[in-house]
Symmetry: C2
Subunit: 155 residues, 2 copies
């Protein structure tokens, strides 16, 4: 679990504004991590077997998109962005895509931008924050694009 | 890895049609599995600590939505639906939501329907299949809704 003891005050709806940007720390995915995740959740040859992966669309071992999504969540939670009062709780994902595979040894970072902040009309003690996040590899190439809406309490 | 030795022939684009429905087998999530996934990918108290979870929005331990998504993928891969020529490869997710939390001991199944089959105009040896999947618990309640587009080779 992430050490949160040195974090700034928790963020409320009032602390978010359109155009704010957040950058996560890095995380490197090993071949072992890619294969372990896939054995549990996406047991297909291009995610579990480097030899068999050669003759697939991926032409080599690649992480499951769901692994990339899970790692992205981990990076968001660990970054300051994730430090939302009540927790980082998704109401829904409006788009999620993987334009390029994640390969063993790739180092990922998540770049996020707030695109909408909306207070609830019926319950003004809360609202939603819509964010766009790009997960990029060490070459700056986008491996995941996501648009998500979070539930956030107001101060 | 799933045993695929007794599967029917692999599915091609030609084998899919709008309105086809697929149902997965069941998978039960233990509290240990929920906490283990969350420690790796979504380390927030409502996913990692049954005691601390009581005082959160979830009012008790709940699975990370990304865990539910990963388990849904596993169920799809293991079901006959996942037996697509070249593998089950997502081009993108157009919508993903978690209307209700997954609790320890919940048994999940995935119910999918094909909503669009489209052959590529520029590359007629392939196309896309759009599916809607509902992941339901043992009470028939929806814990995840997803609309996804898969890349599928033609025969």
């Amino acid at each position: 679990m992430a050490d949160t003891t040195d974090r700034p005050n928790r963020r409320y709806l009032d602390d978010f504004a359109t155009g704010q940007r957040f950058e996560s720390g890095p995380l490197t995915l090993s071949a072992d991590a890619i294969m372990a995740f896939a054995r549990s959740f996406d047991p297909q040859p291009f995610h579990t077997d480097p030899e068999a992966a050669r003759d697939t669309l991926f032409a080599g071992l690649a992480a499951s998109g769901w692994h990339t999504a899970a790692v992205t969540m981990r990076l968001l939670v660990d970054s300051g962005f994730g430090d939302i009062a009540g927790g980082m709780i998704g109401r829904g994902i409006e788009g999620l895509g993987w334009p390029r595979p994640v390969r063993p040894g790739d180092t990922l970072r998540v770049f996020s931008e707030i695109v909408e902040v909306r207070r609830s009309a019926s319950r003004p003690d809360r609202g939603t924050v819509r964010m766009k996040s790009e997960t990029r590899n060490q070459n700056g190439e986008i491996v995941q694009e996501m648009t998500a809406t979070l539930m956030v309490p107001a101060r």
